[in-house]
Symmetry: C2
Subunit: 407 residues, 2 copies
């Protein structure tokens, strides 16, 4: 059994993934790990032995606090897909040789579906060769699409950002009192969790968004135009939240209707962009109104200046819980969040078999969407509202939030 721990970050960045890194680091140190290594650019970096002594880089409690407030992945990330051990055993042999050389006993990977696949493959291989290295998954994704967990760290902060920005956009869009359709594109290729968060904007001080379009509901361009036209009779400014991944009934992405070229990444994911622009152009061509499209783009996943303190705390906790579990002998598991009570909101962690998580996607329940398919029901609001509560004040230096980065 090795005496050191190693941790990596994978997949798309979030504004709280570094809080999980802090949680893993501190819990491993507390439980007696000699050295806590960090993989630079995830498993792809590890394969090139690109590792750092994380504990030496992040030594002080001030650095831990800055790490919690720094967006993106401190260690860097990758989108490397581990091949199957049966297909390419040499990759696994190489990896385990590197882990042995580093005297690793505990391996942590912070990420989403694809990262949980990595943990699954590695823990399965370890069992097969009789390695006692413990492999733990730490959930993270703004998409909130992981199975077996009430929600994922990263979602609460991104949801808070979306709700807040929608409030600001609604105010901005009403300013001229003229006919105006604003279409806001939000991340989410197959699940509409983050787009649904736009529903949180409505309240005593905001009219809210008029229409929410998610991948869970097949998109019909004609029905969409009819809805928008009807809505604009009620209020001249119509604000629409749309997932980048809304799809037609035949399965094609709406953004594929535009003329842009679409690339495919190493996981086979199509690059989705231009959904809002396409819809905004379509509205402009068919209706007598001004239009604007806004892509929240990467801003929604790296807005560390405006995180949910609930989310940051939970991100830190799942990191710590993963370390605890590994040191207590668990492997091949992911730490999940389990909601114990909603009012008052209480949440704890539990362990789930990573096989039940890897490569699955959790969609928004259809019965949380209203009958007109325009808005979220109160069930969703009750689910999401606790996750955006409270703030973590940035450390401001000379007027700007202070980060920490690896040199």
């Amino acid at each position: 059994m090795g005496r050191n721990a190693i941790v990596g970050q994978s997949g798309g960045p979030t504004s709280v993934i570094n809080a999980s890194l802090a949680g893993v680091l501190q819990a491993c140190q507390m439980r007696g790990a000699d050295t806590v290594y960090g993989m630079v650019h995830g498993i792809a970096g590890l394969l090139e032995e690109n590792v750092i002594d994380l504990g030496a880089k992040i030594g002080s409690s001030l650095e831990i606090e800055l790490l919690k407030r720094t967006p993106s992945s401190y260690l860097g990330s990758c989108r490397y897909k581990l091949p199957k051990a049966t297909d390419k055993p040499e990759v696994y042999e190489k990896l385990f040789k590197i882990l042995e050389k580093l005297d690793i006993g505990y391996f942590f990977y912070i990420g989403g579906n694809d990262s949980m696949d990595t943990i699954m493959q590695l823990s399965d291989y370890a069992a097969q060769i009789g390695s006692d290295i413990r492999f733990m998954g730490v959930p993270k994704t703004i998409d909130n699409d992981l199975m077996c967990t009430d929600h994922t760290p990263g979602y609460g902060s991104a949801a808070k950002y979306v709700a807040m920005v929608m409030k600001e956009i609604v105010r901005d869009a009403t300013v001229y009192g003229t006919k105006y359709v604003t279409i806001v594109e939000i991340m989410g290729r197959n699940a509409g969790w983050l787009t649904a968060a736009a529903a949180l904007a409505r309240g005593e001080d905001c009219e809210g968004v008029n229409l929410i379009c998610m991948p869970e509901i097949p998109f019909h361009v004609d029905r969409f135009l009819t809805k928008v036209e009807t809505m604009q009779k009620e209020s001249s400014s119509v604000v629409i939240a749309v997932s980048e991944g809304v799809k037609l009934a035949d399965g094609r992405y709406v953004c594929e209707l535009a003329d842009d070229v679409h690339a495919v990444d190493s996981f086979g994911h199509k690059s989705l962009t231009g959904t809002a622009r396409f819809l905004s152009n379509t509205v402009a061509r068919n209706m007598d109104t001004k239009t604007r499209s806004i892509e929240l783009s990467t801003l929604q996943r790296c807005a560390a200046h405006m995180t949910s303190r609930t989310d940051i705390t939970e991100a830190y906790q799942v990191g710590g819980a993963a370390a605890k579990a590994a040191f207590e002998g668990h492997t091949g598991m992911m730490v999940a969040l389990k909601r114990i009570s909603n009012d008052p909101y209480q949440c704890t962690t539990e362990l789930v078999d990573v096989h039940k998580v890897a490569n699955f996607e959790k969609k928004v329940p259809l019965d949380w969407i209203n009958d007109y398919r325009t808005d979220m029901k109160p069930e969703f609001l009750r689910y999401a509202r606790p996750l955006i509560q409270a703030e973590l004040t940035p450390v401001y230096i000379e007027g700007l939030p202070r980060h920490i980065y690896m040199r």
Copy 2:
């Protein structure tokens, strides 16, 4: 001399224009105005007698605080261009009849270049017909392009937002360690003040942006590509800040090189959008790198959750100073900000003849841009840094910043 005051907001929204509204309202009340009216949708609304009793709507000190934290224009805005009095005297006759009916003695208009034109036309007409109504301009624009004032309220907060978001984008863009060119489009059609603020991102905790392109410097697509290629040899992630209004040497906007249709508004301004997208596509076609374009869009002008307290305070002050000046007998003037000292930063207000402001535009001095035309010199940083200092904490209710809006 009428006993009431009236105030309007015009042009594009900012996140601090309502702080100026609060300043006008409270100063007028303190100086004994009977009623402080608000024009709904600016001068266009006034022409339809669409006014409200502003003091009755915003009665409590809590409402004043919420108003300071609400983005966009509480009263609504317009882009109505007042015709010349010689061309359409009937418009002026109608306006002054309405003002007389409302018993107005003091008229305030919060806005940019075009709004100062309105104040100029109205005060000139008043002088001509012997009206004693006092007309005062209150500056506001994120563009910072007004003459005779050190800077404009609205700029500091938008600059802070740009600098902060660029820091977050720089972190996000380095995450994979792969070749990546991110092009961020920032508002500013003729002046690059706001884009220049991207230079504030660089510091102990951030590599900063690699290239800043502003309308002041003629844009050459070929030279741009060469620069980006050279920069990517130094660092795989290249982040570029570009003004929506960058122009070729022949005066055409760069975004006109794209295929999109471009509309023209009632001031004859072309709709500029797609500059970053065009450049990002051009880089993708010519270089072996991933690219991404991000438009900060309206987010940069309505980010009330992240304002500069310096800016909010000054926005409130110029509103108050305008009321003071009007009650003391001034007319046809704009309140300007005058920097007394830079270290420590001290700023006061003064009055300038609105004829010197209306319809002019202040550009970024060329000697504040470095010789390579890639970055800002320290002179700019010394100018801009004080304007982004300190924060105004939002009033959070259930996890979201609280606003106030007119029903």
